[in-house]
Symmetry: none
Subunit: 122 residues, 4 copies
C-alpha cells in the first residue's frame, strides 16, 4: 500500500502524513471512511505504532482525519470554510511552484493545460 523510505532524512511520520493526505485528496479514501488502525498499519509497515499515531495526530491537527477512542480514525469531510490556514499555505506554494515552473521554461499555457486536465478528473 505504501512505500516508505526509512533511510530518508524526511521523518517517517511526515512521509506517512503526505502519503495519506494524497490518498484523501485524490479521493482514494472517501469521506468518513475508516483508516487502518494504528496497530494494523504499524504491523503492515513494520513500524512502531507510536510513529503511526504521530502521523495520525498530525493529520487530525491539519483537519484531514478525525479519531475516535475505541472506534478508529476516519477521513474528515471537507468543510471549505474551516481550512483558511491551509488555503493560505497552498496559495504560497502555488506562487512558489509557478515561479519555478516558469523558470524551467514552462509556458503559462502548459500550466493551464495541466490544470484543465485536473478539472476533468474531479
Amino acid at each position: 500500500m505504501f512505500e516508505l523510505d526509512v533511510r530518508s532524512r524526511k521523518p517517517i511520520y511526515e512521509q506517512l502524513v503526505e502519503k495519506l493526505k494524497k490518498l484523501i485528496i485524490n479521493d482514494v479514501l472517501k469521506e468518513d471512511e475508516k483508516l487502518p488502525s494504528v496497530r494494523e498499519l504499524a504491523q503492515q509497515l513494520t513500524i512502531n505504532p507510536n510513529t503511526i499515531q504521530k502521523a495520525y495526530r498530525e493529520l487530525e491537527a491539519q483537519g484531514y482525519i478525525y479519531s475516535l477512542k475505541g472506534k478508529g480514525s476516519f477521513v474528515h469531510p471537507v468543510e471549505k470554510s474551516e481550512n483558511e490556514e491551509g488555503l493560505k499555505k497552498v496559495r504560497e506554494e502555488l506562487k512558489q511552484l509557478f515561479a519555478e515552473a516558469i523558470y524551467l521554461g514552462m509556458t503559462t499555457e502548459e500550466i493551464q493545460a495541466i490544470l484543465r486536465e485536473m478539472e476533468g478528473v474531479n
Copy 2:
C-alpha cells in the same frame, strides 16, 4: 537583502536555499553572476559560515549554481535540455498541488488568477 525567520522551524540553511532560488528564478541574480562569498554573506546575516556553505552546496546539487575553487559561486545558466528531469518533477508537483487546492475549495479561476499575477511580475 534577505529576511530570515529565525523563529521558523525550517532550518536556516533551507530558508537560504529557497530565498536564493527565488532570486535566481526571478532573475534578480542573472546567469553567471557571482554570488556573495560565504564569509561576506555570513557576516551580513550574522550567521555561521558553515550554514551558508551548506546552503551553497545544496544549491549546487540542485543545479542552480556552480562553484569554482578559489573564485566563488555563480548562477548556473539554464539549459533546457538538462532540465527535462526537473520539468517532470515540477509537472508532478503541479498536479498534486492543484488537486490539494481544489480539495480545499479553491476554484480554477482563483488558481488562474494567481498564475496571471506571476506573469506580470516576470
Copy 3:
C-alpha cells in the same frame, strides 16, 4: 433535541454533560423538571445507555441534577448558598479567560459586546 458531534475528539459523554448543562443554564430545563430517562435518551440518540448514565452521574456530581432511585433524574434548583464554591471557580476562570482574550488581541469592548448578547438571550 441534541446535536452530538461524533467526530469531535471530546468523549460523547462530555458533550452530553455540556449540552445538558446549557439547557439547564438557559432555563430550557426548569427546576425540578424530569430529564428524559437513560433508556429513552439512549434510544433517541442511538447511543449506548452506559454513555448516558455516565453523563448523568457527572451532572449529579457537579450539582446540576439529582437522581431518585426508580423515579428518574431531575434538575437541581439553584441555591445561592450552596454555590459559593462554584462561583469562586467561575470567577477564576473568567479572570484567566479574559487574560487570554486580551492576549490574543481582543478589546474589552468586544468582550463586553459578547456579554451584552448573552443578556438579551436570558
Copy 4:
C-alpha cells in the same frame, strides 16, 4: 515552579500546556524568552522528556512558542492577525462561561468589574 497532578485524568502534557500558556499570557514569560530545555524541565519535574516535548510541540502548533533545533524553545511574540482560530475558540468559551456565571447568580455588573480589574493589570 509547577504543580502537576500525575494522578489526574487530564494528561500530564495537557496540564503542562495549560500552565505554560498561563505563564505566557500573564507575561511571566516574556516575548522571545527561553523556556527551560526539554531535558532540564523533565529532570525538574521527574517526568519523561518525551512528555515535555509533546507539550512543547502542542504549544508550538498553537502558536505560543517556537523551537529551534540546537538552540532551545522560546516564547512566540504575539501577532494578532495570526490567531484567528484561537480567537474563535475563545469567543465560544466566553459565551459558555458567561452563561454559567449568570446561571450561578452573578450579575453582568460583577462580570464587568472583573474585566475592568484585568485592564488595570495589563
